[in-house]
Symmetry: C2
């Protein structure tokens, strides 16, 4: 194994599997369909939705974008989601976050049918994760599990530290790792406590949004470091880990760019295929 985990290669591998599954679903008359809802004109959200559509189409998933004015009402959004919930041809529904602040995010994600919540951000999906009954997981949390599994890294009994307690990565990931037998610490803030735990952890996942925060002296020898940072510094994307500083000490580390990032859409597409397979089972 290389020390630097190549997220692009792993994402390609996952997308190849997805592509094969789509081919066989299409053979039995099912065209996997993802509906993406975007509200407002946030530049980076628009670009990210475009990228999701492009990648979906590459693997044969039909992606439909529902684009709305920023002043849409909550009931209008929920009406559309309800229509898509009922629609027999729609497998996955994704609301691109963030949404404008006048809309209650909890109400919006709660409106998505649990069977179609491929982004894994609704309370039901998150609760199923807590229960060890995962159906869909937030892409970032799923991507970390994919990377660990692919790299044959044991979770059971390992000391694992998650820096950052977000609802889209830190918290669901913690639940997933504990349910797999990991001894998991979540440190919400990048302070001395984080460093003290980091020094003795077998696996560290960093999601603070602080460029090059994690240095070699903060990590254990032969540990595994997964970097979820995505910071822009002088026009370049930089992670939360100072990879040049940790590389000699750790057994594995994900780079930024080219680590967790490319995995996110691959994991989403895998979830869409999972939803489409459930639809195909209902029909058979």
């Amino acid at each position: 194994m290389d020390t630097i985990i190549n997220g692009r290669d792993l994402a390609l591998k996952i997308k190849e599997d997805v592509s094969n599954s789509v081919r066989s679903l299409r053979g039995s008359g099912i065209i996997p369909r993802l509906s993406l809802i975007i509200i407002g004109k946030d530049e980076s959200s628009l670009r990210y939705v475009e990228l999701k559509v492009k990648e979906a189409e590459k693997v044969g998933i039909f992606a439909l974008v529902h684009s709305f004015h920023g002043d849409i009402t909550l009931s209008e959004v929920c009406d559309l989601i309800n229509e898509l919930n009922q629609d027999k041809k729609t497998d996955g529904i994704l609301v691109q976050l963030p949404i404008p602040s006048h809309l209650d995010e909890l109400m919006v994600v709660s409106a998505i049918s649990p069977a179609k919540d491929v982004d894994g951000l609704s309370p039901t999906s998150l609760g199923r994760i807590t229960m060890g009954e995962e159906l869909y997981t937030p892409a970032a949390a799923g991507a970390v599990i994919e990377i660990l599994n692919h790299s044959n890294i044991t979770i059971h009994g390992k000391k694992i530290l998650i820096g950052g307690g977000s609802r889209i990565l830190g918290l669901p990931l913690a639940n997933m790792l504990i349910n797999r037998g990991g001894i998991v610490t979540v440190a919400p803030s990048a302070n001395d406590s984080f460093v003290n735990y980091s020094k003795v952890s077998d696996i560290v996942i960093v999601d603070f949004g602080i460029p090059k925060l994690v240095k070699g002296r903060m990590v254990a020898r032969d540990s595994v470091i997964i970097d979820s940072g995505n910071n822009y510094v002088n026009g370049k994307v930089v992670g939360d880990v100072d990879i040049d500083d940790v590389i000699q000490k750790v057994s594995m580390v994900t780079p930024v760019p080219g680590g967790l990032g490319p995995m996110l859409i691959a994991v989403l597409l895998k979830s869409v295929v999972k939803a489409a397979k459930m639809r195909s089972l209902e029909h058979s």
Copy 2:
């Protein structure tokens, strides 16, 4: 503050508050109602349901028991739950666990309307906890938070260890504590790793089900220890903490019996009143 936290006194205080709230709800024409569903003839479940009914009635909550044969079908259970979901007079619905193994527990708890899930065990309730949007929490997790708050113990920035990763205590409690700024570790197994973390933690919650596991040498000086153990040894109830051995070293510890146990029903009744208050808001 005493070193031994008196859960009975705190439970009485909570039930007094609940009783006052019920009085004012009844004054405005709302009689808080809890429906308890019990399936099969498990002796200890039957006794526990009886106790819940008795305590509910003491504070003025109307408690209704729906008792079923162990061979009831999933669709029959879900039909009843749906009826209670629709019933305008029912505020809270609780299914006494465990249920017979031919019934899918996930399906049963998922059938309860999130607005009436006073036991906090449905995926939606658990997911809302992950999101920091708590509505109802499992009684044990809620009871730990009540004890910490009542004892003026700061959560933010504290190193907290939870021994045991169950869906009714360890995992939801971890999410609740992280969302309150705690640095939280969950150790699923009672092994050396648990002890290593325990020695340096400010707060330790123990939920392994191993009598008198935790000794003074395993905990940090002046730490806070919460014992969720409920073990029967020679006909006596014994906790997971050897209280005689830790008492000189810690700043606070909950006893067994008389610690977390009496708090559980108090927290449940508080949730029923919360549900009834939401109903009264809908009506006004």
